[in-house]
């Protein structure tokens, strides 16, 4: 006697129930409907109130204001800006200022963070203690406190331009900011940059080829002479043919102020110093945790294979530590970018300061402007987290889990 396999019951209803209400089934659907009704009601309340309030306060709505003249000055801008430019341009000026302070902050924060992490991991007791004190002191003070400290106390206590602190007679630090040599582009700049780009691309190609050769044929190619030649040699040749790419105009003290050179405003200096030292404390902890997370046996296994200490570190320890370090490190970079909005506290013209601050008080169109500002930050963080999840997915795939 054979037993025919039982037919699975039709599951359309079940599937539909799952799709609509999750595990809770029809109850879930009902909860969703009630929730949607509540959300709709709140949305209606917000829209109706906002409309009524805007009408009574005579505030225009819509994004038309972006084409109007802003009529205020901005103390630092990377693109040309005058007070007869539009709000749209103000938005870009602010955005660029945010990005430039973030990028420079990230650069210094990474360096300081790695140095402090190495200090903390050092076998030297005193040095590791100093690293620990740095991390504890910085992490337990509010960032705005540190920004204001640098701006109101340290930078304000610097001498006047005539008594500037001079560094190699090219950089001058005083209470009006940091005076640095100004680069002036020469005709040789374009070929120089082009050659540099070509050199870097070619070097990447060579590296790719060498890795392929290593993995497929087991052939070890020493690439660093080629890379050096491509990245340094090509631009050098361009420089020899077309002349120097740029010259530097060194600042000179004339009367009460400096002539020549470029002035970096004190707000920028204070913000960069505070952001990079603050974030560095967090980065140091991340790097330290990452390196400690690699098992001791890995290092020992490397040396038992006959690899030198440097090679073991480079090929075995660092790649495994990086896997742990990179996601939280990106998170810190993102935090630094978001924290750069504290610029508004000292009047550095970043996105929040000029756009969500000055522009809101001039136009009164808070809804549009603050939504745009939030949108920018949201876009930045969503993009970063998307990239990070791709990275995590690739790491997991390469580990075969």
């Amino acid at each position: 006697m054979t037993i025919a396999p039982r037919k699975p019951p039709a599951q359309f209803a079940l599937r539909l129930k799952r799709a609509l209400g999750g595990k809770a089934g029809w109850n879930g659907l009902a909860a969703q409907l009630a929730f949607a009704a509540v959300l709709a009601w709140i949305a209606y309340e917000i829209v109706a109130n906002a409309r009524a309030n805007l009408e009574t306060q005579h505030i225009a709505s819509g994004f038309g204001f972006l084409k109007y003249n802003a009529g205020f000055d901005v103390s630092q801008s990377l693109i040309s800006y005058t007070n007869s430019d539009t709000y749209w341009r103000v938005f870009f000026v602010g955005l660029l200022n945010t990005l430039v302070v973030s990028v420079i902050g990230i650069f210094f924060a990474t360096i300081i963070g790695f140095v402090v992490a190495l200090c903390r991991l050092s076998p030297n007791w005193l040095l590791s203690r100093i690293g620990g004190i740095y991390v504890e002191a910085i992490r337990n003070l509010p960032l705005l406190f540190q920004i204001l400290f640098w701006y109101l106390a340290v930078l304000a206590a610097l001498p006047a331009p005539r008594q500037s602190i001079s560094i190699f007679s090219t950089f001058f630090l005083n209470n009006r900011g940091l005076i640095v040599p100004r680069p002036i582009s020469e005709p040789g700049l374009d070929p120089f940059l082009a050659m540099l780009a070509i050199g870097i691309l070619a070097a990447l190609g060579v590296r790719r080829y060498a890795r392929q050769a290593l993995f497929q044929r087991g052939q070890l190619i020493r690439i660093w002479p080629y890379v050096l030649g491509l990245v340094v040699g090509l631009p050098l040749i361009a420089m020899l043919i077309f002349g120097r790419p740029m010259t530097f105009e060194v600042p000179q003290l004339k009367g009460f102020n400096f002539a020549g050179g470029a002035r970096i405003i004190p707000e920028f200096v204070a913000l960069t110093v505070a952001l990079s030292t603050y974030t560095a404390a967090f980065i140091a902890e991340i790097v330290r945790a990452g390196i400690l997370s690699v098992h001791k046996g890995q290092m020992e296994a490397g040396s038992s294979l006959g690899l030198s200490r440097g090679t073991t570190l480079r090929l075995i320890v660092v790649p495994q530590a990086m896997r742990v370090i990179v996601p939280p490190l990106t998170n810190q970079y993102l935090n630094l970018t978001k924290n750069s909005s504290l610029a508004v506290g000292i009047g550095y013209p970043d996105l929040v300061s000029v756009f969500a601050g000055t522009a809101v008080s001039q136009t009164g169109q808070a809804i549009e402007i603050i939504a745009m500002t939030m949108g920018v930050y949201l876009l930045l963080s969503l993009t970063t987290s998307a990239i990070m999840s791709i990275y995590g997915w690739r790491i997991n795939r390469s580990l075969g889990t």
């Binding site: 109706a48 007791w125 005193l126 406190f145 969500a356 809804i367």
Partner: protein, 506 residues
């Protein structure tokens, strides 16, 4: 076997004693092994000592040796007057201390602030010591009773009604809003392509509003009667107590098992009555102090504690929502969390300051401090949700499965089995969020609230105290204060973490 070769050499004397090994214990050994064991390390040690010398010595000189300790105004802290290089100007802190602590809170009323601080400390300390009993009662008092009492203590004022009046007022507002929405839809329908549909929907909503109006009619009638009586608060209070206690009694299982719920409810109401009586809330309470007068450490603590207390329920709800399988609730939770986590706090504060007043009816005015509090609560709630989600994920699946095997509903499984364990796991995480919230409260000084940092900054502009070292002194003082709070909390969180992981230690 016996004829072994004769030994050719037998050592006659003892091997000479080797020198004692280099000590690796004790202070000298420590210095040898950890500081001076290689040339590179010697160099590093010297560099570190130099660094310490150039940082620690000037810091001590500034705060203690060269500091000025007494004086009436700025002249005491000038180098010409003091006769030596001047460090910290502590008289300036003495003069500004009340401003840094209370802001412009009226001098005669400051005992209220002190009382609030004292009350908070008395309730908080037993909560933090794990060995002390009655954590449930204690946290109930701290998280529910204390905020209300603190609100009426700090702000002053009382109320004109109680539960029945409030419920009636809220429901009436809701009903008006629903009817308004329906009416708006009906109005729109005249110009829209799908007019009849909108008209029908609008009329339906108006009908619902009308039904709600009938349903709540007894309540509003009761409220009007109460307000007309001579003792509105107390009659209202008694009515509320009777209604709530009766409902709890029935829900708790009636005559058989409901006695516990009934007693608990009655005791709670008795406590509330005592507080109302003691603070005279039925007779207008204390004198009103506008929140614009608040400042200093008071505002910092108010924002930090309100933020953490308000963010807990938001965080729990969002974390559960994010783990839910119901699509709309999950999507909403994810969007909400990622939105607030993706934007900087300062834009959230701008949102709360400039946009929020536009979103509420024009006859409501939202107080400046309250706006900041709402922004902070939403922002912290999103972060708290992620912390709590981590704790929920750490509870083994078997716990929830065992609970459903026992026949517990989702609500009971969550509230009795999963959440208590999850919350235990995340205590260090919550303390961590509290530390960052405490630091972030300094941002409210940007939206014109005077917290500790804002008051400090405001005090710099006092011409009576402008000296070259005023700013450094102020920052030193505020820095020590911030550091003491944050460092203390982080140590506490480490302590709790170690205690929680005690069973894993080997």
């Amino acid at each position: 076997m016996t004829d072994l070769a004769a030994p050719t050499f037998v050592r006659q004397d003892l091997v000479p004693e080797r020198p004692t090994p280099v000590r690796t214990t004790g202070f000298l050994g420590f210095v040898r092994t950890r500081l001076l064991n290689s040339p590179g390390n010697i160099l590093l040690t010297i560099l570190a000592l130099l660094l310490l010398w150039y940082v620690v010595v000037p810091a001590i000189r500034f705060t203690l040796v060269d500091a000025v300790w007494t004086g009436k105004d700025r002249t005491a802290c000038l180098a010409e007057k003091a006769g030596h290089e001047v460090g910290a100007c502590w008289p300036y802190i003495q003069a500004k201390l009340s401003q840094l602590m209370y802001g412009f809170y009226p001098e005669a009323q400051r005992w209220r602030v002190n009382l609030t601080f004292l009350l908070g400390a008395v309730l908080l300390v037993p909560l933090l010591v794990p060995r002390l009993p009655a954590k449930g009662l204690n946290s109930g008092l701290f998280f529910f009773a204390f905020p209300v009492v603190a609100f009426f203590l700090l702000r002053g004022g009382g109320f004109a009604g109680f539960g029945v009046s409030w419920a009636a007022g809220l429901l009436q507002l809701f009903e008006q809003s629903i009817s308004g929405a329906g009416q708006a839809l009906v109005n729109v329908s005249q110009t829209s392509a799908i007019g009849p549909l909108l008209w029908l929907l609008g009329k339906l909503i108006v009908l619902i509003g009308l039904m709600i109006q009938w349903l709540i009619f007894p309540l509003t009638w009761l409220r009007d009667q109460l307000q007309a009586s001579s003792q509105p608060v107390w009659i209202d209070f008694l009515l509320t107590a009777v209604i709530v206690s009766a409902v709890l009694f029935v829900l708790g299982g009636g005559v058989r098992t409901g006695r516990r719920a009934l007693v608990g409810s009655l005791v709670t109401f008795a406590g509330i009555a005592a507080i109302i009586r003691l603070m005279g809330l039925d007779r207008g309470g204390f004198a009103l102090v506008d929140t614009r007068l608040w400042g200093g450490l008071l505002v910092t603590l108010v924002i930090a504690i309100t933020g953490i207390v308000a963010s807990m329920p938001i965080g729990i709800a969002l974390a559960l929502g994010r783990r839910s399988t119901i699509p709309l609730i999950r999507i909403f939770s994810i969007t909400f969390i990622e939105f607030w986590r993706g934007v900087p706090l300062i834009t959230v504060l701008f949102f709360a300051t400039y946009m929020l007043p536009l979103f509420v009816p024009s006859n409501f005015t939202v107080d400046g401090l309250l706006r900041a509090l709402i922004g902070v609560a939403l922002f912290t709630g999103a972060y708290m949700a992620e912390v709590i989600r981590g704790g929920l994920a750490a509870v083994p699946r078997g716990q929830a499965e065992a609970a459903s095997a026992l026949g517990l509903s989702w609500w009971k499984t969550t509230s009795l089995i999963v959440l208590p364990q999850a919350l235990r796991f995340v205590i260090p995480g919550i303390v961590g969020s509290f530390i960052s919230l405490f630091k972030d409260t300094s941002l409210v000084s940007i939206v014109a609230l005077f917290d500790l940092l804002g008051s400090l900054r405001a005090s710099f502009s006092d011409p009576n105290w402008t000296t070259p070292t005023t700013a450094f002194t102020g920052f030193a003082f505020a820095g020590i204060l911030y550091f003491a709070f944050c460092f203390g909390m982080s140590r506490y969180s480490l302590f709790v973490e170690r205690r929680l992981n005690a069973h894993r230690r080997n």
